[in-house]
């Protein structure tokens, strides 16, 4: 989060690697250490400090062991020095598709801020991964620069998560034009204009106008500068029959957007409402909790005041 004065404010930086994903524990892949259990443990393959090996070399190392055929997921961590993108490793994964028949999950970019800030991560065209792995259920990517997912057509994908500090609108449009009948979890972090978000509410319109993903249980529109507008659009949408959880956290939600949520008949049917990192007033927080006792309204933020205007910030941009 950056204020005009340039002070680094206390923010939700991505400081830690996931210690578990898809219900499996996650460990770092260290070539010198034997992997004991490909079946029940996920390994994060990433370039370490003093590693001379590239990401694609490390991936090859991981796949060398025939037991790797059992792995349920591949996590790619640090791609290398700052501007390196994962293209060679992604191509290698696609080429190795027949050797990973049980692959349920792919996480491209488990990178913490110390390794590379989210807005500096160089992503690439990941679209070929969906066609290569028909058994895929979980897909997660971090970093918006250069990210391309394409229009996805996948019968088994249950969870799609895109984390970024600034997402190109093309990605959102592609996702909302995709055919994902099994999708239960959709999480998008549009981010801010400063770091590549060039879209608007318009790009999300298809999501609120038709039941694109009839099995959706969780909708996350997080880390956004248009949280209020998204809240309003959601509030008046009538297409989320089976939804359990709405997540508008890490963004710029204010009383305006929260009021729309309070009025909404759809929100009343939810089982979970995650609004942490928000700009709500005390009064509004109380009203939200009254109507939705299960709501998460932690991490109250206060706007920065400069130039006579109030400025609200997303949690994760740099």
């Amino acid at each position: 989060m950056l204020s005009k004065a340039g002070y680094l404010q206390k923010e939700h930086m991505i400081n830690e690697h996931n210690s578990e994903w898809m219900g499996y524990p996650v460990k770092p892949f260290v070539p010198e250490e034997t992997v004991s259990d490909y079946k029940n443990t996920l390994y994060r393959i990433g370039v370490n400090w003093d590693d001379n090996r590239s990401l694609v070399d490390l991936l090859a190392c991981f796949l060398e062991n025939p037991a790797s055929v059992d792995t349920p997921g591949i996590i790619l961590g640090s791609f290398g020095e700052s501007d390196t993108d994962p293209t060679p490793a992604v191509e290698a994964l696609v080429a190795a598709r027949s050797r990973l028949p049980h692959l349920k999950g792919l996480f491209i970019g488990d990178i913490i801020s110390e390794e590379n800030e989210i807005s500096w991560i160089q992503q690439t065209d990941l679209s070929a991964l969906f066609g290569a792995f028909p058994a895929l259920e979980y897909f997660r990517a971090r970093g918006g620069n250069g990210l391309v997912l394409g229009r996805i057509s996948h019968g088994n994908l249950r969870s799609l998560t895109i984390e970024s500090g600034g997402l190109p609108r093309g990605v959102i449009r592609d996702v909302l034009a995709s055919s994902l009948p099994a999708l239960e979890h959709l999480e998008i972090w549009p981010g801010t204009e400063d770091y590549g978000w060039d879209g608007s509410l318009e790009d999300f319109r298809p999501l609120f106008e038709a039941p694109l993903f009839p099995n959706l249980r969780y909708l996350g529109l997080r880390n956004s500068t248009i949280s209020d507008e998204l809240a309003a659009a959601f509030g008046s949408a009538a297409v989320f029959e089976n939804l359990h959880i709405l997540d508008l956290s890490l963004g710029t939600l204010s009383d305006e957007g929260a009021a729309r949520l309070l009025e909404s008949p759809t929100v009343k049917l939810l089982k979970g409402l995650d609004l942490h990192h928000h700009y709500l007033s005390e009064g509004m927080m109380a009203k939200i909790l009254e109507s939705f006792p299960f709501a998460n309204v932690d991490d109250v933020e206060t706007p920065d005041d400069w130039d006579g205007e109030s400025h609200r910030y997303v949690a994760v941009s740099e």
């Binding site: 004065a5 680094l8 206390k10 370490n48």
Partner: protein, 387 residues
């Protein structure tokens, strides 16, 4: 005999520990009075007196005196920032102002050399040799020493003269992220974390500039414009600085962490997990102590032992120091370690215990054994009473 600053709580903690350990004759000598007149200390010392040298910090008068002492030497180094005696005389305490640390270091080394002579003349026993203290205050010298002894550290990129020289060295080494540190300062004073990429650059630092004066603020600022970064880098380099590879830190419980370990008499002692949201973990920057017990569990015992071992080997490069505070970096995959810094006065860790002892109590506890093992000739007649 304790040579320190009376207002400083270090002396207070030490006195407490000494009383507990039965050292019943502690004579404090202030840095201020010592710098005014060496006889104050020399006359009070006798053969086999134990001398504890404490930090000269947190006393503006002492800082001024050290700056004065360093003036002559800094004159022969025109590339570095300096303040002439007449200006030093009228300096007022300006909270957070960074005074030319190379000049300060010259004054400090000169003082330590004097102490070395006095110790020799009086045949007394220093807890840490002044010579080694001086070396610990020179980050460039420490880098070379660690490299020679095979102690793992971030790669030293260069000793830049300024922004342009730094950029050139980074280009030549193919390195895009560095930590720029003044050689002779401590506590993240004047430190900058700097990274470049195709689309631009950014620098994190507590350093603020007001005209040609540098200040340490308590908040880390981010700079993204080359002009401002250039100005600050040039100013830091005028203190004499090193640029080393910026190794990403491990994350734990939502923060980035590193480890401060105190090595006492060659053995492991107190440890603190330092946790921050930004690139600098120093505790006074609004950072916090992390959950060391939980972290040790996450790290696993073999890795914990490896961490202790590398800290001991770093401290072993200073065999005449009773204690050394080692700052250890841990890689995000928790497999690699590197020594970021070694501190001569790294034992101010209030509330942190090792085997039920404070840092000062541990030092006193291990002192006799260490002395016997290290002294030449052996001082078998030295006892803890009546010092």
């Amino acid at each position: 005999m304790v040579l320190g600053n009376p207002e400083n709580r270090r002396g207070h903690f030490f006195a407490e520990a000494a009383a507990k350990a039965g050292w019943n004759r502690i004579i404090p000598v202030s840095w201020g009075s010592f710098l005014r007149s060496e006889e104050v200390l020399e006359d009070a010392l006798c053969a086999d007196s134990v001398l504890r040298i404490e930090s000269p910090g947190e006393d503006f008068e002492v800082e001024r005196q050290l700056m004065q002492l360093g003036y002559e030497a800094i004159l022969s180094e025109p590339g570095f920032a300096s303040i002439p005696p007449e200006k030093i005389r009228v300096l007022i305490p300006d909270n957070g102002q960074i005074l030319p640390s190379r000049q300060w270091f010259h004054g400090w080394s000169k003082t330590l050399r004097q102490l070395e002579k006095i110790i020799h003349r009086r045949s007394c026993v220093p807890m840490t040799s002044p010579c080694e203290i001086a070396r610990m205050f020179d980050k460039a010298a420490c880098h070379h020493l660690f490299q020679k002894q095979g102690v793992s550290t971030p790669r030293l990129i260069c000793e830049p003269e300024g922004f342009d020289s730094l950029m050139e060295s980074m280009r030549n080494s193919g390195v895009r992220r560095v930590f720029l540190k003044p050689c002779h300062a401590s506590s993240a004073s004047g430190v900058m974390a700097f990274e470049i990429r195709q689309a631009g650059m950014q620098a994190f630092t507590t350093v603020e500039r007001e005209g040609d004066r540098l200040y340490n603020s308590l908040r880390i600022r981010r700079h993204q414009h080359i002009q401002e970064i250039r100005t600050i880098v040039d100013a830091i380099c005028r203190h004499r600085a090193i640029a080393e590879s910026w190794l990403p830190k491990a994350g734990f419980q939502k923060g980035r962490i590193d480890l401060r370990m105190l090595v006492v008499a060659g053995e492991s002692g107190q440890a603190v997990l330092r946790q921050s949201s930004g690139p600098m973990t120093n505790l006074h920057l609004g950072n916090r102590r992390g959950d060391l017990v939980a972290f040790r569990e996450r790290l696993g015992e073999p890795q914990w032992q490896a961490a202790c071992a590398i800290c001991r080997s770093a401290a072993a490069t200073f065999p005449k120091a009773l204690h050394a505070g080692v700052d250890l970096l841990i890689s995000p995959n928790l497999r690699s370690f590197a020594v970021a810094e070694i501190n001569a006065f790294g034992d101010l860790l209030p509330g942190i215990e090792y085997e039920g002892m404070s840092t000062y109590e541990l030092e006193l506890h291990r002192f006799d054994g260490w002395l016997t093992a290290n002294s030449n000739p052996p001082l078998s007649h030295v006892s803890t009473n009546g010092r």
